[in-house]
């Protein structure tokens, strides 16, 4: 089968690429577009390392076909910071030492942003429930959950 021409918006920029019909969005982001911030941990939707926001919904990019991106607005980890200004979640992850190896960090930040954008008052129980699809093997989650709670409080003080 021939490749399909895809037109999409990624991190606020218009993007065109050619997609194999069977290729995942994750493969397209990483291999075609060079956006390697989205990570492959499992390639079957179990680890969340490839989380992106897809027309407002949090998805595992490994479980979305690249051709489905046509006409869609996508935010990846590369689009979370505002230019040189880090997002409060990114600052909070750094200050709370919420990463060790860092491979799961992009997925956690994208997922947490998707939550806080809709539920700025999310409490620990809600955050833990929301992030249960993101696996981290280094931290035991303690500092990640605290980082998200701190970022939420910070974002409530200074709304974007």
């Amino acid at each position: 089968m021939s490749k399909k021409h895809i037109t999409t918006r990624i991190n606020g920029e218009d993007v065109e690429f050619l997609a194999e019909p069977g290729a995942s969005l994750l493969a397209a982001l990483r291999d075609e577009l060079g956006l390697t911030g989205s990570k492959e941990g499992c390639n079957n939707g179990n680890c969340g390392a490839c989380n992106v926001v897809f027309d407002g919904a949090l998805v595992n990019a490994c479980c979305v076909l690249a051709v489905e991106a046509n006409g869609v607005e996508i935010t990846t980890i590369e689009g979370v910071a505002n230019g040189e200004e880090l997002h409060p979640l990114q600052t909070s992850f750094l200050e709370n030492a919420a990463l060790q190896c860092g491979i799961c960090t992009p997925g956690f930040i994208v997922a947490a942003k998707a939550l806080l954008d809709k539920e700025p008052d999310a409490d620990e129980a809600r955050i833990r429930h929301w992030l249960a699809g993101n696996l981290c093997r280094c931290t035991g989650y303690d500092k990640i959950v605290r980082a998200v709670l701190d970022a939420a409080a910070d974002m409530r003080r200074t709304p974007a």
Partner: protein, 745 residues
């Protein structure tokens, strides 16, 4: 602990230097390597747990358009060598005459796309003669068991065995007369435990990319725990000089011992040689489970004897550890750690390393210690119950201390196990009542060595008075920060004025693996040495500039000054104005800190609730106490304790390699091999005990490994308190709990 020096940088919590790259997605991990003209590789793996390989026909794969090369084990052979003569190191990367586990690599393809490489692999025809597998460690030890290696003879205390056997080695560790002492003990408790193979579970699958130039220069990008040992192994496997191989470590997405061994690197190099192009190989998650090295399953029988007033007199154990498909030394390690927490006069441990048709095992955080502690720390709990003593006070009364017999019989230097138990006794957690039905509190101790080994760093003074710190230890959990902090402390500059970088194998002296809790400790020693060398060299240059003898210049608190105080300058001023105007200044620090150094002890407290209907164990509260010597960056030290505890919780409650009778792992994915999520663990409280390590200039002890040791037994002890049933098998899954409480079947 009260006389802790007043450090300026050590003990603070700065942001890590590599942090921004990691929160923005810029950091480059193993699979992120992209080179012009790069091919993609794919590895074909054995579907059988035990099979002779009669032949491999790659012709159809080679004929597929887009395929550039296919390789088999024969490509690792030296001239005149046959595949059955390949050493284990090579044979585990690619099976020659025999596949010894499902997932064992048998061939590899390089093609213009990943899809074509996978399609081509499916066209490779391997002629297997399927053999019966042996999957259980005790069954593998029996006469008549299927034999993995016909040429292997057991090493035993009385010499090599006569016949082929799956027992790699029988190691005996004995002090005193344990049998005689046990016969005289007032209280004797015993236990028989079994644990299953579990995986490190790092989120980043293995990935490697290689180029091979016509002049034989090889470059390998890989997410390894040790670029120098990886270079050494590639050199051995490829029969290619070390000087012609450069390993560039990418960022590494977790390892825990599982990324010490090479798997894809030599395969990528061979495919690069055959194609003349860069080749990238990545593993799928199922490849990671089936084709890399998990940690052994075990079978342990142990007996502990004590006097009626609670003094441990004798420990006797028989420990069998799975090595997987090739010989290892997991059980031998176990003999060194099993009794380390306690001062016990009479100890006898028989340890058996055994091969089975499962992946070759590798280290996993405090290798061999958690399974041993699962048995020993339950014995201590049973003894406490029989003696009517508080389990912490019993541990305190029998604790190892400075001078106690340590691993391999050598006395411990200053250690902090007793201090950990005391801190646990004083903790808010242990003093809070636990109420409610089906709830229980458990405690357990744990030990892991702190290995030293070799480290080298370079420090260069920059024109603006800052310094760059060049390291060769790959940074998994924040060691760029902890090493930069030690340098800043030593040379009296701000943490922000030290710029650390992890470089390739051509750019710095030899560094052993990032493992054994050694980087902040041993690379830290190299950093301190480099810092001192730098001050010495700057003093010499300053003597010339100030026209005074070098010994008239002192350096303290970041300031150089003459004895009369007439001339002074901060490090930064001197670096900028004196060094910066002279020839470049780079110094090194190199250490060999030996094999066994210091000792890390942990003690954990856990509260659980067991659902009597479903058998699910919920962790209600968790506290991890550990002697960390000196916490260089306390946040990342806490993170080690929390992460280790969480891995231990997963091991205790959920994780196992689940095999069918043919030797197929039926849960080779994260959905079914379920590691803890945010919902499975509570916040994990930490208590950092700081008994300075006399072997390190700032008192640092390795912190990474001890925290995975206590959780298995601590949770088992808690479940016992909640249900009245001892848990002798892992994982303590809902089904297992219901079986032991009589609610199932």
């Amino acid at each position: 602990m009260t006389d802790k020096p007043n450090y300026r940088v050590i003990g603070t919590r700065p942001v890590r230097p590599d942090g921004i790259d990691k929160v923005t997605g810029r950091a480059q991990y193993g699979a992120d390597t992209r080179l012009p003209g790069m091919l993609r590789g794919y590895v074909l793996r054995s579907p059988h747990a035990h099979a002779k390989i009669r032949g491999i026909d790659t012709s159809k794969a080679e004929a597929l358009p887009g395929v550039k090369a296919v390789m088999t084990a024969a490509d690792f052979c030296a001239p005149g060598q046959t595949v059955d003569q390949l050493p284990d190191l090579s044979a585990n990367l690619m099976a020659g005459t025999k596949a010894l586990y499902r997932g064992h690599a048998v061939a590899a393809v390089a093609a213009i796309t990943d899809e074509i490489a996978r399609d081509a692999a499916a066209l490779i025809e391997v002629n297997y003669e399927v053999l019966p597998p042996v999957l259980d460690v005790r069954e593998a030890m029996l006469p008549g068991a299927p034999i993995l290696h016909e040429a292997m003879r057991s090493r035993t205390p009385t010499g090599p065995g006569e016949n082929p056997s799956n027992i790699v080695a029988h190691t005996l560790s004995a002090f005193g007369d344990a049998d005689a002492a046990l016969a005289e003990c007032d209280v004797v408790v015993d236990i028989v435990t079994s644990t299953k193979m579990v995986h490190q579970g790092y989120i980043e699958p293995q990935a490697a990319t290689a180029t091979w130039n016509p002049d034989g220069q090889v470059v390998i990008w890989t997410c390894t725990q040790g670029s120098f040992p990886a270079r050494q192994n590639c050199s051995q496997i490829l029969g290619h000089p070390i000087s012609k191989i450069k390993v560039i470590p990418t960022e590494i997405g977790g390892g825990f011992g599982g990324k010490i061994a090479v798997y894809l690197e030599p395969v990528a190099a061979v495919l690069a040689r055959k194609t003349g192009k860069p080749v990238k190989l990545t593993m799928d998650r199922s490849d990671v489970f089936e084709g890399t090295g998990p940690t052994p399953g075990t079978s342990i029988r142990a007996t502990l004897g004590a006097t009626k007033d609670g003094k441990f007199k004798a420990l006797k154990a028989d420990m069998a550890y799975e090595n997987g498909a090739y010989p290892g030394a997991a059980a031998t390690y176990a003999t060194m750690v099993a009794a380390a927490c306690y001062d016990i006069e009479h100890v006898k441990i028989d340890a058996f390393d055994v091969v089975v048709n499962k992946p070759r095992t590798q280290d996993y955080r405090a290798p061999s210690s958690p399974a041993a502690a699962f048995a020993i720390e339950q014995l201590v709990d049973k003894a406490a119950e029989k003696l009517g003593m508080d389990p912490l006070k019993l541990r305190l009364a029998n604790s190892s201390h400075e001078g106690s017999r340590g691993p391999m019989g050598m006395p411990f230097s200053r250690i902090g196990h007793a201090e950990c138990v005391e801190a646990a006794l004083d903790s808010p957690h242990y003093n809070a009542p636990l109420e409610g039905p089906n709830r229980g509190r458990g405690v357990a101790s744990g030990f892991w060595f702190n290995v030293g080994l070799r480290s080298s760093v370079n420090v260069t003074v920059q024109p603006d008075g800052t310094v760059s710190l060049v390291e060769g230890s790959t940074d998994i959990g924040g060691t760029r920060a902890s090493l930069a902090m030690q340098l800043a402390e030593t040379i009296g500059v701000e943490y922000e004025d030290v710029k650390p970088a992890v470089v390739d194998t051509d750019a710095v002296g030899y560094n052993d693996v990032t493992a054994g809790s050694r980087v902040t400790f041993a690379s830290g020693m190299a950093v301190v040495e480099a810092g001192r060398n730098l001050i010495k060299e700057m003093t010499a240059r300053l003597a010339t500039a100030w026209n005074v003898p070098a010994d008239a210049i002192s350096f303290s608190n970041g300031v150089f000054s003459t004895a009369d105080g007439s001339k002074t300058g901060t490090f930064k001023q001197i670096a900028e104005n004196v060094v910066g105007r002279g020839p470049g200044l780079t110094v090194s620090g190199s250490v060999n800190a030996g094999f066994l150094q210091g000792g890390g002890f942990a003690h954990h407290i856990v509260d659980v609730e067991v659902d009597p209907d479903t058998g699910k164990v919920q962790i209600l509260r968790y506290t991890a106490v550990q002697d960390v010597g000196t916490a260089v960056h306390p946040s990342y030290v806490e993170g080690q304790l929390q992460g280790g505890a969480a891995q231990g919780i997963g091991w205790a409650l959920n994780e196992e390699y689940y095999y069918d009778e043919t030797g197929r792992m039926v849960n080779a994915g994260y959905l079914d091999y379920r590691i803890p999520t945010t919902l499975d663990v509570p916040m994990i409280d930490t208590i950092l005990v700081e008994v300075p390590n006399p072997l390190h200039p700032y008192g640092v002890r390795g912190a990474g490994e001890p925290p995975i040791v206590p959780p298995l037994a601590a949770i088992a002890n808690a479940v016992y308190r909640a249900t009245g049933q001892r848990q002798t098998q892992l994982p303590m899954s809902p089904r297992r709990i219901l079986e032991t409480t009589g609610k199932l079947g």
